[in-house]
């Protein structure tokens, strides 16, 4: 037996921790230290076993193919006819797989997960014992679901994890009861994600309906055998439906509204779920299912456009927000947009690469912001911060490193991965990928602008929080303190990762004629279905000349530096922030537009939510009210006939007026009696329903 044969233990350890904490520690009301030990052992064992399994697998097995570990036969059923002809049995195993994609994900999920467990020990210490054990129970359960998601070897196991992370996310968002909007934030996350789930589930059914299997490796094999256009239509439908699922989970336009609200939860949860892991599940899934997208240029374009537009859209909103976690939330949405942009240009590996580096620096940023909020006694408004540098140096330095990383300054992780994405986007435009070259050029420009904005708002955040003088009042200043080691240690580890992570796993070898130095490209390459069509941007392509590559690097560094410089001028040198204030006054509409997040929430509330509620009310009252409607209808008919007869004799008009009055009175008397549910009204609904069905039957006969 080897570690990787028992890969299913990796998710099982946190599950055991969740069950022990939820059923034993919580029910018995044991102390926090017990919950700590259980939770840390659960996630720690997952970390150790996960890394051991991946390393052992890497060195002993052929790591260009998936190593599938079947735990048990989960779903079985007889043969079903397929939409593409033939039959296939609906057989799905509960099975996990180790392959380059899941190996990368498992390594970083367990690492970041463990660090955030550790951080939570310090962060949540003021909660009551019961709430504490419940929190860790949910957190461990989340680890289980997330690991199931990344390790699952078929769409259905992935879906189990997908729903599981969603559930844990709602439970953890609602963990802070004091804030009234927690419940509504949980609800919003929930509703939005259901739209995504709709797409995902349909994609699963269609995948089985066409291909007769849900296993990734089998789908890969089937689709790589494919020649001609026979399956392109199916691939497009499935790809778009899967992407709808990804839009919901990864907070892309138009379903991004839940993520900023989800920041109502505890900060470690924001870091783990809403920055590092769960929200990147959509990117992971698209990269995992690249075989559908590779076949379908249209689906790829959809992914790229949504991703690119989201990247710049969320970045603009981030410019004006004053809540430290909201800025980070919109930054996350924007970065996720970059990942989808990468996937949409066929650079799935760059997307996963950015997932990993983003996990490091964004988790570091969130945990740093948590440390800041902790120190400021729960205050999240940056306008009431400032000068924290001298009170909490460790937090400051790690935060600064992560900011430099996300801003895209070489050679930190964020630069390497983001530059890879932008280069691929440019390449897609340059080589006229799938004939959509113009669109890809446009997206590349959007991405470049987004990079400048990112650098700007992130440094604005740093300067407003850590530089200048403290603006939160005397008393609050008195409480400022550095956080305990359980909180700063994860920060340091993550900051370290943000520095070296990029070059270590994704060295941009193409800039130095050393393509094989790029570990992740070579490692994950076999997981990507060979591109079809001309000029596709596949792994390690040489479409763009050497000089142009360097020019692109220079360009992206320049825009990042420009963003930083503007932030420096506006927020560092001037403690009154007079330039941005003047800008806001000069362009009030643009400022309000951004400050209110383009009023998207309000728009959705006015249209979709109200519409749904109205429809629901209509259906609910249909049974009773339809009868009223019919009654009213007959009244109108009566009135109408009276009117016709009135034409013959104008003198009757008085009479009609009186008649209408009488009818109205009578009708409203009946109306009052009839609008309650009464038996004969129901009988009538049945009879008319029967008439409708009979009519349909005759028509279709």
């Amino acid at each position: 037996m080897s570690f990787y044969d028992l890969i299913w233990l990796v998710p099982l350890f946190p599950l055991a921790g969740a069950l022990i904490n939820g059923l034993v520690t919580h029910q018995l009301g044991l102390k926090k230290s017990v919950a700590n030990i259980v939770a840390l052992i659960g996630s720690g064992l997952a970390l150790i076993w996960g890394w051991a399994a991946v390393l052992q697998w890497y060195f002993t097995e052929d790591h260009t193919v998936s190593y599938v570990v079947k735990v048990f036969s989960w779903i079985s059923g007889g043969d079903l006819p397929l939409l593409s002809g033939g039959t296939a049995p609906l057989e799905v195993a509960a099975s996990y797989q180790v392959d380059p994609t899941s190996a990368v994900m498992v390594c970083f999920v367990t690492l970041v997960g463990f660090l955030i467990h550790l951080y939570s020990v310090g962060y949540m210490h003021s909660e009551s014992d019961k709430a504490y054990s419940r929190y860790f129970s949910y957190l461990n359960l989340f680890m289980f679901a997330m690991l199931t998601l990344v390790l699952g070897s078929n769409l259905l196991v992935l879906f189990v994890g997908w729903e599981g992370v969603g559930l844990c996310s709602y439970l953890l968002i609602g963990f802070y009861y004091e804030k009234e909007w927690c419940a509504s934030a949980g609800m919003k996350a929930f509703i939005v994600n259901r739209i995504g789930d709709f797409g995902f589930l349909l994609a699963i059914f269609f995948t089985f309906g066409w291909f007769g299997t849900l296993e990734f490796s089998e789908l890969f094999a089937v689709l790589s055998q494919h020649h001609g256009d026979a399956l392109v239509g199916a691939a497009t439908i499935i790809g778009v439906l899967l992407f709808i699922g990804a839009i919901g989970k990864s907070a892309q336009i138009p379903l991004f509204v839940w993520l900023p609200d989800a920041m109502a939860g505890p900060t470690p949860v924001s870091a783990l779920i809403h920055a590092a892991t769960m929200v990147t599940a959509g990117v992971y899934m698209v990269a995992r299912c690249n075989f559908f997208y590779q076949l379908s240029p249209n689906a790829m374009l959809v992914v790229a456009v949504i991703g690119g537009v989201t990247a710049i859209f969320a970045a603009t909103i981030g410019l004006t927000q004053n809540d430290i976690k909201k800025v980070l939330a919109y930054s996350t949405v924007s970065q996720l947009g970059y990942m989808f942009l990468a996937a949409g240009v066929g650079a799935y590996i760059a997307a996963i690469f950015h997932v990993v580096t983003h996990a490091f620096f964004k988790a570091c940023l969130f945990l740093g912001s948590g440390s800041v909020i902790h120190a400021c006694g729960g205050e999240q408004d940056m306008r009431k911060m400032g000068g924290l540098k001298k009170y909490m140096p460790k937090t400051y330095w790690t935060f600064l490193i992560a900011t430099i990383a996300i801003a895209g300054i070489p050679p930190l992780a964020g630069f390497v991965s983001k530059d890879a994405i932008l280069a691929k986007a440019f390449e897609a435009g340059y080589t006229d990928l799938n004939g959509f070259g113009g669109a890809y050029y446009g997206l590349w420009i959007l991405g470049l602008c987004g990079a400048a904005l990112t650098a700007f708002y992130m440094f604005r955040l740093v300067f407003m929080t850590f530089d200048g003088a403290f603006r939160g009042g005397e008393e609050a200043e008195h409480h400022l303190h550095e956080s305990p080691w359980t909180m700063t240690l994860p920060l340091q580890v993550l900051a370290f990762g943000s520095v070296i992570g990029g070059l270590l796993i994704g060295f941009p070898g193409i800039l130095f004629h050393k393509e094989n130095w790029n570990f992740i490209e070579g490692f994950m390459g076999p997981m990507i279905l060979g591109a079809h069509g001309h000029g596709a941007a596949h792994a390690g392509g040489h479409a763009v000349s050497f000089g142009l590559e360097w020019a692109l690097v220079g360009l992206s560094v320049t825009v990042a530096a420009a963003g930083i410089l503007v932030a420096y001028r506006w927020y560092k040198t001037d403690p009154e922030f007079s330039i941005p204030n003047a800008m806001a006054e000069r362009f009030p509409f643009a400022y309000k537009l951004l400050l209110n997040k383009y009023w998207v929430d309000e728009l959705y509330d006015a249209t979709i939510i109200r519409g749904t509620i109205g429809l629901a009310r209509f259906c609910w009252e249909f049974d009773a009210r339809v009868v009223d409607g019919v009654v009213n209808g007959t009244r109108h008919v009566t009135v109408g006939t009276s009117f016709l007869s009135g034409i013959f004799d104008l003198k009757v008009i008085d009479g009609i007026v009186n008649l209408i009055g009488t009818i109205n009175q009578t009708a409203s008397r009946y109306f009052r009696r009839l609008q309650v549910g009464f038996t004969q009204g129901y009988a009538m609904v049945m009879v008319f329903g029967a008439a409708l069905l009979l009519a349909v039957f005759f028509i279709s006969f």
């Binding site: 009696r673 009839l674 309650v676 009464f678 038996t679 004969q680 009988a683 009538m684």
Partner: protein, 100 residues
């Protein structure tokens, strides 16, 4: 010549009248009577077909329909008694607590 269609036409009329009765009468007892009309219409059909087919099973089903109709009448009348005790009414649309 009287055919099955004649009987079917008669039973259809009775069936439709029974349906109308269920829908428009307010008195629960009269609604019960309308339901009996529906069952009689069905029996008429069954008997007519039974004769045409020379098959007894139609008559057997009719016997069961009569028996069940009697049982239903008993339960319906019991409900009327309970309704009267509770709300002092036999008007069917007075039973409208729910969703009012």
């Amino acid at each position: 010549m009287i055919t099955a269609t004649h009987y079917l036409a008669l039973s259809l009329v009775m069936f439709t009248l029974g349906l109308i009765g269920v829908m428009v009468r307010r008195n629960f007892i009269t609604v019960l009577m309308s339901l009996e009309l529906i069952f009689n219409a069905v029996n008429l059909n069954l008997i007519a077909f039974s004769f045409r087919l020379g098959d007894l099973s139609g008559q057997i089903l009719a016997i069961f329909v009569i028996t069940v109709a009697a049982a239903e009448a008993a339960i319906g009348l019991g409900l009327i008694i309970a309704l009267t005790r509770l709300k002092d009414t036999v008007i069917l649309d007075d039973a409208n607590e729910m969703r009012s």
